[in-house]
Subunit: 197 residues, 2 copies
DNA sequence: TACTATATGGCACACTCGTACTAGTACACT
DNA sequence: AGTGTACTAGTACGAGTGTGCCATATAGTA
């Protein structure tokens, strides 16, 4: 018998199957049976890892949040401010197929969260963290002299946060209109604008 | 019996019922039966106006697109450029409960469009029109001397488009974090920044 | 070798789904 | 008055849903 640590790996594998089904066929298609097939299990077997469908979906959301935070934590902080900030953005923004699919999952949950209160806490926490990150970015750029001193940090952070959500939405929904190079250019352009005043 | 013009009104009323169900219970909850109840009809009766569920959902998307374009067309063009541009933005952005719900519907379709190719054309057209509108806005501001002459209009339009999508997404998903005043402030702040260079 | 916990798959139940079909009603036109 | 069209409601069917239940298999332990 696999030990407990393997059970957690299996739960994660099932959650990743949830992501794939959501990306391929939409949130509503993530039925217990469809996820079980995607994960290579039977529906009855899946229920040994998740006692209900809502528990399954909730875990899949929690896990994607953890994965994104882990990716952000890996960014090397020992570089120039502007470089660290850009690296953080590139770690969070949908610049390749894998992260695009991740953000599609997050967006699907964000939309569903209005009908399913269970998702609201995690989804709102992700927004708050993104906004806080933007605020830190602006503060550091001001402190490093790469932004005009009279910058309204609060307003600039709100604007940056909206800009990042916008390019993310566009890259996720219209990947041919917002490819990685264009996405990077938009973000870099805004940061340059902050420096120029 | 009601004549044809009344039948079209009924179709629109049913489509609005679709919107309400999507906003309240999510896209997947817009079943034929649920929409029929919301519209005050029987499921069998609803099928006399829409031959299938996909036709119903497709019409509900087309109609919301028409409604938004109509709202945009109503903006008075005979005012100073900056005013006209702001008025257009306020006509399109989710600044009250009604337009917030409209954008929730659009966002739901945008997410579903990845699984249902039928929606892609309309949704992509809406994006393209928004981007074109941003491009026009930047051009007019440059022409009116309310933006620095060396502005990269293409890049600025892309940035503005992303910013608008971002504040829309935030106002729709986190209305308490992005209330109308804050949304207006973000947009005005960006336009001011364009003028300042 | 037994025993137990974990894991797996299959089945059954009540429910909802889209849709086809039928019957009945009300109005317009000849 | 008769005929046809538009409309409404209801029912039925097959498919898919979440979930409870149970039989089986495997691996670790006494």
């Amino acid at each position: 018998m696999p030990r407990k640590v393997d059970a957690e790996q299996r739960r994660q594998a099932v959650a990743e199957a949830v992501w794939r089904v959501i990306v391929r066929d939409g949130f509503g298609a993530a039925s217990v049976r469809a996820v079980a097939v995607e994960a290579g299990l039977s529906a009855g077997s899946l229920r040994h890892y998740f006692s209900s469908q809502s528990a399954l979906r909730a875990y899949a959301l929690e896990l994607i949040d953890q994965r994104m935070e882990a990716r952000l934590a890996k960014v090397d902080r020992g570089r120039p401010p502007r470089q660290v900030i850009e690296d953080m953005m590139w770690a969070l923004l949908p610049l390749d197929d894998a992260s695009r699919e991740e953000h599609r999952v997050v967006l699907a949950y964000m939309v569903q969260a209005r009908a399913v209160p269970e998702y609201r806490h995690t989804v709102t926490a992700m927004y708050d963290e993104a906004l806080a990150l933007c605020r830190q970015a602006v503060d550091r750029l001001v402190q490093a002299g790469e932004a005009v001193p009279d910058t309204d940090a609060e307003a600039a952070a709100a604007e940056l946060s909206a800009l990042l959500d916008g390019v993310t939405l566009q890259a996720v929904s219209f990947p041919d209109r917002m490819p990685p190079e264009r996405l990077r250019a938009v973000v870099r352009g805004w940061l340059d604008g902050l420096a120029a005043g």
